[in-house]
Each structure stands twice: as structure tokens, then as C-alpha cells.
Symmetry: C2
Subunit: 321 residues, 2 copies
Amino acid sequence: MAHGGGGRMSQRLIESVFMPLFSNDLLDTRHDGAVFTIGNADLAFSTDSYVVRPLIFPGGNIGDLAVNGTVNDLAMCGAQPLYLSCGFILEEGLEIATLRTIAESMQAAASRAGVQLVTGDTKVVDHGKADGLYINTAGIGRVRHRVAADRIEPGDAIIVSGDLGAHGITILSTREGLEFDAPVESDTAPLWGPVAALLDAGIDIHCLRDLTRGGFSSALNELAQARNLAMEIDEGRIPVTETVRAACELLGLDPLYVANEGRFVAFLPASQTARALEILPHAAHAGTVLNETSAIVHLRSISGGNRILQMISGEQLPRIC
Amino acid sequence: MAHGGGGRMSQRLIESVFMPLFSNDLLDTRHDGAVFTIGNADLAFSTDSYVVRPLIFPGGNIGDLAVNGTVNDLAMCGAQPLYLSCGFILEEGLEIATLRTIAESMQAAASRAGVQLVTGDTKVVDHGKADGLYINTAGIGRVRHRVAADRIEPGDAIIVSGDLGAHGITILSTREGLEFDAPVESDTAPLWGPVAALLDAGIDIHCLRDLTRGGFSSALNELAQARNLAMEIDEGRIPVTETVRAACELLGLDPLYVANEGRFVAFLPASQTARALEILPHAAHAGTVLNETSAIVHLRSISGGNRILQMISGEQLPRIC
């Protein structure tokens, strides 16, 4: 049972059922959001459902996750997020106090991200059916800069926006009751701010992708496949905190595959790397796009060896968003 | 447990938790969709989650319901529906054949309604959760005509677009294993077609509302409250099939409170009534807006008496969409 984890089976499920049916030019880009024009406005449109367990975890809850997730899908389209919809599926018996806490977090996250929650819907299902609550958000943004896999070029710098793995490790450790020496908190955060800062500085971002389900390695593999260009990553340059690294070793996980909710990868001209790293002080120059027409992501590992960074297979961490 | 049924408790829940938090000019209109401008385009944006049981029923399934429902929310904003998002929450173990049937219905409904499904998301939850699947759709449309509760005027004709109650009775009878002399089928259908036909003919529609949760009487009560104008309805003019009427009597339900998924009420200048009824051959002139500043909906009943048509209280039929 690996549908929905962002790995190979999920892709297969989606491709086998949805893609042949729903095929159209916009959906076929397989981006996190669709981009189209109405009147004189280039718009981005995206949706995600949130089924994370537990509902509340260190650093966030399902509410701010649901706002930030869709805000970030729009930001990854080079779009300023503007308006969100919100659909609640509530389980009968959910404490109103819990709902209020989550709703308050949504409103705070929306304010922080500069978006308005403008339309919504609430359904109630039987006790035992919805793990407390599920939330769907959809969002509309206005495209400011064209970013797309087909704009990735050989020689592009691959920038990762901050340390990896905190969200997935937080969810898993909270769910399993694990404790580490140092506390770990979800990285959930809105990403339009840093993207806008790069654009304001004149950085010609070629492509963006948030590092959610399947983590850094899935994002790179999907883009390498979409563009049919190989990439080379230097594992030693990828920021991972000591706590997350230790937790991953304990749990047998690779931080490059663990989900993040406030991290992204940006592809940009190598000449603009230094300027980008000035603007994003927690970011790192993780690698480079090669002049090699294959979908392989090469990893120079910390131990000095070379290996291929595979797409995640199956489910590493279920229900992390 | 009456949250989500469209009655008083649902309104109270929404008002007590969401409204104080999420208050903003767009949400405060309490319409089924938000209307705003980006660039030179007036847009409508709406969302609904679908949790109907059973998943497949006479006349439709959760898939076409999820497309038509959001298409109709946009149409009720006077907007041509253009793009839909779709979020699936799948229960582990759901038959792929069932998913395919539902996805095919979604695609057929989208084609019929002239919209594109452009972005989506799939999550999988544990066996025993989500009743097979839940679907959220959100939609974007382009506003063609300004319709709003504040445009309702004394003297306006109240037009109901077709016979009432078939959807709710279909769901309930399928769920309970009831059979009637004549088959009954859901009325699920896209409503932009008839709305566009009225606009094409130059009808100055003042307000539109689909007759979903809470049915005809809830829609009228909400609008009477929003505009603070009384209305008078002639029960004898409201189309209800013999089968639905008999089923309602058997079940102790009032067809004016039963949910529909392909019916709407339109408010328009009395002088355009005849033209509107020519364009919509199944529609009926059900009543009139009074020159009386109160939120009361008067009903002249079939038996000749007069009573007040109340807002539905609590849950009449749960999980009908």
C-alpha cells in the first residue's frame, strides 16, 4: 500500500487511472500547479488535501500545513499566492477546541503568507472516519515569472533553500513517541517570501520545486526526467541538522528522501549563484545540471563515493501531510 | 450531530468557529463562491468536498456530483466555469475499478460542463477511513453577469428551474434499500447551460442560488435574511414528481427541504418571467419578492392555508453530497 507517498507506486496509480482520462495540455505538465491565462492575467491554480497524523505536532499542525502547502505549490509556479479555498471534512465528535486551534493556525498562516481564505465548505462524517479532520485547500496566484522544467539548462546551479528532513522526522517521531537529545520541529513555512526576494534581486530562476513527498531526491529525479538532463549533487553540501541526521540513522531513513514542508530547490544561472546565496542565507549550492541527456541524478556522497540518487520506491513515511 | 447538513447547527458551527477568524470582505458575503478581480478579469472561486454515501447511486456517482457541484457554485455566481482542481482522499483497499468508474464519470461531467480538470492531488488513508473515497473540487470561473443577494428587488419573480427533491430521495432510498413504484434518479447536472441561456436572451438575472443542502426553503430563507425582504411562494406551482411526493410522504420529508444537485432558483424582473419560462421549459414561476422588510418566507400551501416556510433545523438527510 504505497499510493499517495510520492514514490513509484503513487505515480503508477495516478498514471494508470487519472492520466489517460484527464489528459489535457495543462495537466500534462505534471507540475504541482496549472498555469493558464484569463483576460490579461497569467494565473496559477493548485490543490492539496491534508491527512497528516497527528493533527498537531511540534512546529505546526494540519491547519498551517494546509495553508503553507498550497501557498508553496503556487510559489513553485513563480506565482504570488493570492486567494485560498478551504474544504473541511470533520469527524463527528471532533473537539470544537481542537478545530478552533487549527482554524486559528490557518488564519495566522494565511496572514503570514499574505493570502486570503475566501471560500470554504464543511462536511461532517461519521465517528471513526476522518481521523479528526481532513483539510483540502486550493489556491490561486498570479504568475510573476515563468519557471518550468523546460527552462532548466546545462550548467544551471542547483540551490537548496535550507536544511532538510525536519518535517518528516518530526511527524514520524511524534507519531511513534520517539524523543531525541535535541528537539526537532517541522519546517512548515510559506515559500513565496524567499522566491519573491530572489525575483526582486533580478535572479532569473529557471525552475522551482518544493521538497515535499519523496523529498529532495524525488524532486530532482522528476525534474531530471522531465528535462532529460543529468544532474550532479554533492551530498556534503546539503544542509542537514545533527539532530535530523542522528534521527535518520536511528530510523534507517535517508534525509534526502524525507519530506519537507518549507524547503525548495531552485535552478538558476551559475553566474547568479553567489547573489542568490546572499539573499537566502540558509540556502546551499548543492549541485549542477550536467550537459548529459539522461535522467540520472549522480550523488557524490559524504564518504567520497559516487552513486545514483534513485527515485523513492514505495512509501517511506506515510501521512506526513 | 447536525453539523454539515445545511441547517441551523451547521450555520452555528461555521459562524462560531470560522467566521470570526476568517472574516474578510469576500468571505463575509456568505455566497457559495468568492468573486474578485485579477488583472482585468472578474473571477469566481468556489470549493466543495463530497462525502456522499453510497458512492454510486441511480443517476450518478460521487465523481460527476463533485464536478457538477462546483461547476454549479460558479454558475450561481453568474460565472462561466473554466477550470477545476480535484483532491482525492482514497481509502486503502478501494477497488481500482471503482476508482476508474468514478474518474471516468468526472471526465464525462467535465466535458459536458465545458470545464477542464487541470490540477489534482491524491492521498491514501488507512482501511476503514474515508468510506471508499472523498473528493474535493475547487473551481475558477469568469464572471459574466453580476448576481448577488443585494440585487434582489421587491416585485422580482422567483423562478425554480425544475422539479425538486429527486437527488435527496435517490440517495436516501438507495442507502436504505427502499424501492418505489417508479424509479427515481438523482438530478445531478451542470447548471451553467441554463444560466447562460437566460443571459444570452438578455434576462437581467438579479440573484441565483442552487438548491443543495437544505433544499429550496433553506435557499429562500438565506436570501430573505441576506436582503431583508419577505417572499411569497405558491406551493402548488412548485414542480415535484408524483414519485418524489409519494416517497416524501412515506419518509416524513418535505420536498421543499430535500437537497437537489441540478436545480436552482433565479430572481429576475417580473416583466421577464414569460421569456425566462420559454427558455427553461421545465422551470416554474414559484413566487414573488414582497415589498416588506422582514426575512419571512410566506408559503401558500397546496391545501389553501398560509404558513411560514422555516429554515431547516438540524439534519434532514445527512451525507447527500
